[in-house]
């Protein structure tokens, strides 16, 4: 029977959430087809991770090799090329993460297997995968088909499919001998680097006023700082603000920044790209100010204000200060 591979992603001894999201999707896909769901785990001393996966899936293929300890695209690509050529899975699901972005296109090119990246959904129609992707910053979606092939590779956007776990099923763990011959010489993992922590911990704040590119220039930053101060909260931001150096990296909310869950998240001039939204969507109350009524941030907010931030924010700040004075 043919298989559907889910490539387990792990870092520093822990499986990453996207693995379970992919397993959930995989389970859904095989329910309608005569296909086995197989988790593929590459790493070193990963017994515990294999056991954890075997709770969720009938078959876990494990390749244990010291050269697979930390993610290295060259080593991963070689091992996966071997496994895929041997077992010919119909579909390989990989996370659209920093690892997946480095690996999937290289694997697909090597195997000459069609690839669709950053998909938010996938289904089979007449044995061919049909994927859904977001384009133009999340304003429109496309449905796309892949060129007919024996196998397909699809990368799934993290945090879009809700991971559902099944009762532990005690699946089989199959150890496969590592096909790696020598140390990869063209690419070496050296170390992890953790930028130093800043003076403000936005994950601990109850109130966040988060600013995006709509603020236009550094000189305008005080208007959001004043609002944050009035509300007794901290200033957070989207990525472009950090890229421009207007705030330090520890203020950034999103996939490559922090995940926050404040009581109030006030998004000011932020469009609501998925990389941003996945870092704040669990906030208790979200209010968004954006002059574009179609901005995706309004799909992640409870209340929306479709106005120029330069007009609303100062008035709102005054109102908050008045309110505080009168309630004293």
């Amino acid at each position: 029977m043919t298989e559907l591979f889910v490539l387990a992603e792990h870092r520093r001894g822990e499986l990453r959430d996207v693995t379970f999201e992919m397993l959930t999707k995989g389970r859904e896909l095989i329910a309608r087809a005569d296909v086995d769901l197989t988790a593929v785990l590459l790493g070193h001393n990963v017994k515990e991770l294999a056991i954890r996966l075997a709770d969720q899936v009938k078959k876990v293929l494990v390749v244990d090799d010291a050269r697979l300890k930390d993610f290295n695209e060259v080593a991963y690509q070689k091992v996966l090329t071997h496994l895929i050529s041997e077992r010919k899975p119909v579909l390989i699901l990989i996370g659209h993460t920093s690892f997946g972005i480095d690996l999937a296109p290289s694997l697909a090119t090597k195997l000459n297997v069609p690839l669709a990246t950053d998909c938010i959904d996938i289904n089979f129609e007449e044995k061919k995968p049909i994927v859904v992707r977001q384009v133009y910053g999340g304003k429109v979606n496309i449905k796309a088909s892949l060129r007919t092939s024996e196998s397909y590779i699809v990368t799934l956007r993290p945090a879009t499919i809700e991971a559902k776990e099944v009762k532990p099923i005690g699946g089989e763990i199959i150890e496969v001998a590592s096909p790696l011959k020598e140390e990869p010489t063209t690419k070496r993992f050296i170390e992890y680097f953790e930028p130093p922590a800043g003076e403000v911990d936005i994950t601990a704040a109850d109130v966040l006023v988060s600013v995006g590119r709509g603020i236009k220039d550094a000189d305008s930053m005080p208007i959001v700082e004043k609002l944050a101060e009035a509300l007794g909260g901290a200033v957070a931001c989207s990525r472009p603000i950090v890229d421009k150096g207007w705030l330090s990296a520890d203020r950034q909310v999103g996939t490559s920044g922090k995940t926050v869950k404040p009581k109030l998240y006030l998004a000011v001039g932020i469009s609501g790209a998925f990389q941003h939204v996945s870092g704040m969507k669990n906030s208790e109350l979200v209010i968004a100010i954006n002059r574009d009524a179609k901005a995706p941030i309004f799909r992640a907010a409870d209340f929306g204000v479709v106005e120029d931030l330069f007009k609303v924010v100062p008035i709102l700040t005054d109102r908050v200060l008045q309110e505080k004075k009168s309630s004293k």
Binding site: R11, V74, T117, R188, I190, F193, L231, K258, I287
Partner: protein
């Protein structure tokens, strides 16, 4: 140092009204402003910084229509030395795979020590072209690069992972590096600067010049085909506050007070 940078000319859509065109597979672009892909702006800057330090030449390559010259001139004004535009009717409908093939068609015959691309294009967002191109060229790559240090025979790069963590890798050169935003501060160029750059070389090549066959590019040479474009269904939408700035501010304050946030 011979550095090649791949850049894409893309529509700015963050603040624009987007409408689907009559084919149902693309957007209407007539009223949109096009510019260099955000990620590629950082790639060009990085190339120019390296050239300023070590000397050499920066070549810009794009697959696009004549309109892309605006972006190419901008790159030349920033300090790139020459530009190549790859244009052909047959290229229409190319996905990341076919685009990488077209780029390979010209780059395979150019000298290079380093190739830079963006991590992704802001329009279709495949995040693939660079890595596929590296595969065709048989050179190593690294994506989501936030720092580049060039050494003898290799480069040490920081790759961005999730949650602010980075991974330091050593990659043998020549290599292809796909850069992430924030790696540097792209310089600003004036209209004057762009005008001056008009003297620099801008070459246009087509399908035949690259030794490619028609079926290898465009839709027939692609991995994926767009079947349909649609506005995403709205699962949840914010309650939009209306009634003027004062009324809106009052409503927000009331809501916050009701929740004990003020």
């Amino acid at each position: 140092m011979e550095i090649i940078v791949c850049v894409k000319h893309v529509p700015e859509t963050a603040e624009a009204e987007i409408a689907i065109d009559s084919s149902g597979k693309g957007i209407k672009t007539e009223d949109l402003v096009f510019d260099i892909n955000e990620w590629d702006d950082y790639a060009v800057e990085e190339a120019v910084l390296i050239k300023e330090k070590l000397g050499g030449r920066v070549t810009i390559v794009t697959v696009g229509s004549e309109d892309a010259d605006k972006t190419l001139r901008k790159c030349l004004a920033k300090g790139a030395d020459r530009a190549i535009r790859l244009t052909d009717k047959a290229f229409d409908g190319s996905d990341a795979y076919a685009t990488a093939k077209i780029l390979y068609g010209v780059i395979k015959d150019l000298p290079f020590d380093l190739i830079l691309t963006g991590t992704q294009a802001g329009d279709d967002g495949y995040a693939q072209v660079g890595v596929i191109l590296a595969g065709f060229l048989g050179i190593p790559h690294a994506t989501m690069v936030k720092k580049i240090e060039l050494m003898e025979g290799f480069t040490r790069v920081n790759r961005e992972l999730e949650g602010g963590l980075e991974q330091v890798m050593e990659v043998g050169t020549p290599a292809l590096l796909a850069v992430q935003t924030g790696i540097n501060e792209p310089r600003y160029v004036s209209i004057m600067g762009i005008r001056k750059a008009r003297q620099k070389e801008l070459k246009v090549l087509g399908l035949n010049d690259l030794g490619l066959k028609e079926e290898e590019v465009g839709e027939s040479g692609s991995w994926i085909t767009v079947e349909e474009m649609f506005i995403p269904p709205v699962e949840k939408e914010a309650e939009i506050l209306v009634g003027g700035l004062d009324a809106i501010s009052s409503k927000i304050v009331e809501t916050l007070r009701a929740r004990g946030l003020i």
